[in-house]
C-alpha cells in the first residue's frame, strides 16, 4: 500500500528535479522545483514526519521559492542568460562525479538491503507530530534551537547591507 504511494511520488519528484536542471527558462525551473518540494512533502508524510512535511511546504515551497521567483523577476535576465547552456569545462568533472554517484548508490543499496532496515521500527501513534518534535527541540536541543537565531540575525543584517548598499 505504502509502496503504491511512494513510487509515484518518488518518480514525480525525480522527474521534476530533472525538470529543474533541464528547463529552458529559470522560471520554469522554479515551478518545477516547487512541484518537487510538494512531492517531497508527500514523501515526508509517508515517513510520518507530519510537522516536517508542513515545514517543507511552508518554508521551502512557500517562502524560499518566493525569493527565487522574486530574484528571477528582479533581474529579468538577458535572453543569453535565460536559455539553457552547458558549462564547457566541467565535462570531465561531471563524468567523474557521475561515476562516484553510481558507486555510492551501489554501496548504499548493499548496506541497507539487509534485513535490519527492511521494516520500519514500531513507532507510537504521535510520532513526528508537532508536539513530539517540539518537545525534542525545546528540551534536548536547546542550543541548536538558539543558534539559528544568531544565524537568522546574521542573515538579516547581511541581506540589508547587501541590498541597501545598492539603493543608497
Amino acid at each position: 500500500m505504502e509502496l503504491l504511494i511512494f513510487y509515484p511520488l518518488a518518480l514525480v519528484s525525480v522527474g521534476l528535479a530533472m525538470g529543474v536542471v533541464f528547463n529552458k527558462s529559470p522560471i520554469g525551473s522554479a515551478v518545477c522545483l516547487i512541484g518537487m518540494m510538494l512531492g517531497l512533502a508527500g514523501v515526508f508524510v509517508l515517513l510520518q514526519a507530519h510537522f516536517l512535511a508542513i515545514l517543507q511546504i511552508l518554508i521551502y515551497a512557500g517562502a524560499i521559492m518566493v525569493l527565487f521567483m522574486f530574484v528571477i523577476m528582479l533581474l529579468n535576465l538577458k535572453d543569453d542568460d535565460k536559455v539553457w547552456k552547458v558549462r564547457e569545462r566541467n565535462v570531465w568533472l561531471s563524468s567523474l562525479a557521475g561515476a562516484l554517484m553510481v558507486g555510492v548508490l551501489y554501496k548504499i543499496v548493499n548496506i541497507t538491503a539487509g534485513a535490519e532496515f527492511n521494516a520500519p521500527a514500531k513507532v507510537p501513534d504521535e510520532f513526528g507530530t508537532v508536539e513530539m518534535v517540539g518537545t525534542a527541540l525545546f528540551t534536548d536541543f536547546v542550543l541548536p534551537f538558539e543558534v539559528p537565531s544568531i544565524l537568522l540575525l546574521a542573515a538579516m543584517v547581511g541581506a540589508v547591507v547587501l541590498a541597501k548598499s545598492n539603493v543608497d
Binding site: 507530519h50 508542513i54 511546504i57 517562502a63 521567483m69 523577476m73 508537532v130
Partner: protein, 358 residues
Amino acid sequence: MWIDLAITMVKIIFILAITVGFFAPVLTWVERKQSALMQDRVGANRADILGFTALGLFHIISDAVKMFTKEDFIPQGANRALHTLAPIIALVPALLTFAVIPFGGQYTLWGQEVNLVISDLDVGLLFVFAIASLATYGYVVAGWSSNNNWSLLGSMRTASQMISYEVTMGLTIIGVLMVYGSMQLTQIGAAQESFFRWGIFLQPLGFIMFFASAIAENKRVPFDAPEAESELVAGYFTEYSGIKFGMFFMAEFIEMVTIGAIITILFFGAWHIPFLSTATLLSMFDFLGDSFANLAVMLIHVGVFFGKVTFLIFMQMVVRWTLPRFRYDQIMKLGWKILLPLSLANVLITGIVILALN
C-alpha cells in the same frame, strides 16, 4: 474501511457543494447587492427568467453562463502554459484549505463515529497556512506570464503584500495556540464549549490583528493595492478573460469563506452555541432516541457554524465597503512596523499571563 471512505466522500461533497456550489456564486451576488444597499442604490436586479427577477439572484446564473462562453484568449508574447496554469494554482489551494476545517463536532450516529472534518490533521492550522502560502504562486505566475506592465506590477505588489501579512498572520495566532495548547482545529473548537473560553475573550488583540491581516492576505479593500482598479486596471489578472478571470474571483470568495471559518474556529467558539453545551442540547432532543438526537444536534451545530461564518463574511463585506484603500507604503508600514511588534508583544504577554495563572 469502506464506510469511512464513504463518510469522507460525503463530507467532501458537502464542503465542495457549500463552497463552490453555494458560497462562491452567491457571494458574487451578495457583494453587489450589499454594496448597493449600503450606498443607497438598488444593485443587480435585471437578469430575469420569464420576467421573474428574484432580487437579481439570476445574475449568478447569467454570470456563470457568460464566463464559460466568453472567448478565452492569451495575449501576444505571453507564456501560454504558465498563463493557463496560474488560475489553477490560485484556485486549488483555496479549495484545499477546507480539508482541515471542522464544521461540526464529533457525533455517534448508529454506532458510527462521525467527525465533521475531512481530514483531522494534527498540524491543522499550519496546514492552512502552508497551503495558503502556495496560492501566492498563482498570482506571481499570472502576472509574470501575461507580458503586461500592469499585471507584472500588480503581481509584484501582490506577492510582497501576501508574504508580509503571512508573517503577521502566523504571529498573531501564536497567542491562541498557547491558550488552547493545540494546533488541531477540532481540538481548538472543542476547547471553546464554554462561552467565556471563546478566543475573542482570551485574545481580543489577537482577534483584531488576525482579522486585519487576514483581509490583507486576501487582498480585499482596504488592502487591495495589488489589484487597485483605479491605478493598475485589474492588477495581476488584467490579461485574463472568461472563466480564468472568474477563477481568480472564485478563489478570492472561497478564501473569504476560509477566513470566516478559521476566525469562527479560533475566536468565535466554532460550532458551539453560547451557554448551551452539547450535553444540554442532547438532553433536549432526548425524546428522539439516541441516534436521531445526535443527528439533530449535528445539524444544529453545522447550521450554527455556517451562521457564524456568514456573519464574519458580512463583517468582511462591511469593512470592504466602509474603508478607503490604503496607500502601498501604508500597507507595508502597518504590516511590518505595527502588527509585527504588536503581535510579538502579544506573544510575550500571553506567555507571562499563562505562567502567572498556573
